[in-house]
């Protein structure tokens, strides 16, 4: 059962579910709206990257309006969304080896199975009006050419419908969004870290590449990287490549 908090708007085709959800948010739509499309013609990832969106995979965007939270806090919804995707995928393939890659990638057998694009709108400088959590989960297929190796639920041997994956995702998101709002980031951080992919990595940041070892995430969600000399640095933005 989909939690009663959510109202699902079903679309056959749209340019981008995030765009539809953002438009609804700007028009004053109440939180809990889920825009879901069978396929997208202009699916977007981070930095305008294309998200291939053929029929058979999940494309959905959820509108949230948590009261009186700052932009800094809104960034933590990245982890709520990642945990929700993680839980949904695990439910579909309980035998698979799942790992989380900072901040919100879910890996199955070391390959990316989902993508999350979160967009917000501030009211006045730093208080958030709304958050749109866009999620794509590869169910039937996965792109062959991508920045990272990819996989799909079907490739992992799971026979699950897109509808079922959406329900699993929303069930888990409902829990994590409430936990984040009422109990804070600590439980999410703990859950996230228990399935985090560790090890040496290169982080491609806007200012260049940094190499180091995964050393956890800080209380604000930043990636802690242990550098060669033993010093540590915290990353807020970057693409991660494990070595």
């Amino acid at each position: 059962m989909t939690p009663s908090f959510f109202r699902i708007q079903e679309l056959d085709v749209t340019a981008s579910t995030n765009a539809v959800a953002k438009q609804a948010a700007e028009a004053g739509e109440a939180e809990g709206l889920v825009v879901r499309a069978l396929r997208q013609t202009a699916g977007k990832g981070r930095l305008g990257r294309t998200w291939e969106s053929p029929e058979g995979n999940l494309y959905a965007s959820v509108l949230l309006r948590p009261r009186s939270i700052t932009l800094q806090w809104a960034a933590l919804y990245s982890f709520a969304a990642a945990l929700a995707v993680h839980d949904a995928v695990l439910k579909a393939c309980p035998e698979a080896s799942l790992q989380l890659k900072w901040p919100n990638d879910v890996l199955v057998e070391d390959k990316k199975i989902s993508g999350i694009l979160i967009e917000t709108a501030p009211v006045v400088q730093n208080l958030v009006d709304w958050i749109v959590v866009g999620v794509g989960i590869n169910v039937a297929s996965h792109p062959q050419e991508a920045l990272y190796p990819t996989t799909s639920l079907s490739e992992q041997g799971a026979s699950v419908t897109v509808d079922a994956i959406l329900t699993y995702f929303l069930q888990s998101l409902e829990q994590w969004r409430q936990t984040l709002y009422y109990d804070g980031f600590c439980p999410l951080r703990k859950a996230w870290l228990s399935d985090a992919k560790m090890g040496p990595m290169v982080v491609r940041t806007p200012t260049g590449e940094i190499q180091g070892d995964f050393a956890g995430i800080d209380p604000k969600g930043g990636l802690i990287l242990r550098l060669a000399e033993g010093a540590e640095t915290v990353i807020q933005t970057g693409d991660i490549f494990f070595l």
Binding site: L47, G48, Q72, S78, I118, T120, Q125, N126, T205, G222
Partner: protein
């Protein structure tokens, strides 16, 4: 707007707690009463022409009205970064920038985007005016409180 008796002691206590913990702001609500304390290091818009402004922590007290702690000014508005992150001047790489120096903007126009934890946050113009300064570079990190744009 309804009013309520202000417990100065309580507000002072909140302000002390704010200082002690290094938090940016504390909000306390009971029923329809709400008190919000914002620290001096919070991203508050400043008027360029008033360099002596606010040495002490500004404490704003609101009743049941929506929280709106920052004063809206129309001239010399410094838009500061509400978070640590990466700034993007255009909606996506290769696309035209949202603004450039000399552009006229209206209150609510998107000025730029700040990303943290892969969450995209558009920063909007708190006031209408002309972009007089744009001290940040595309795809570079910004610190909390750093000036992003000055609207004159």
């Amino acid at each position: 707007m309804s009013t309520f008796d202000l417990d100065i002691k309580f507000v002072r206590k909140l302000a002390e707690l704010l200082k002690e913990t290094g938090l940016t702001e504390i909000e306390y609500a009971e029923g329809d009463k709400r008190i919000r304390c914002v620290g001096a290091h919070a991203p508050v818009q400043q008027i360029v022409a008033a360099p002596t402004a606010a040495a002490a922590a500004p404490v704003s007290v609101a009743s049941n009205a929506p929280v709106a702690a920052v004063p809206v000014v129309t001239e010399g508005t410094h838009v500061t970064s509400p978070m640590v992150g990466t700034v993007y001047l255009s909606p996506e790489p290769g696309a035209p920038a949202f603004i450039k120096v000399g552009d006229k903007v209206k209150q609510g126009d998107t000025l730029l985007i700040i990303e943290a934890m892969k969450v995209m946050n558009p920063i909007k113009a708190p006031a209408s005016g002309t972009i007089v300064e744009l001290p940040v570079t595309d795809a570079k990190p910004v610190e909390f409180g750093e000036t992003l744009v000055v609207i004159g």
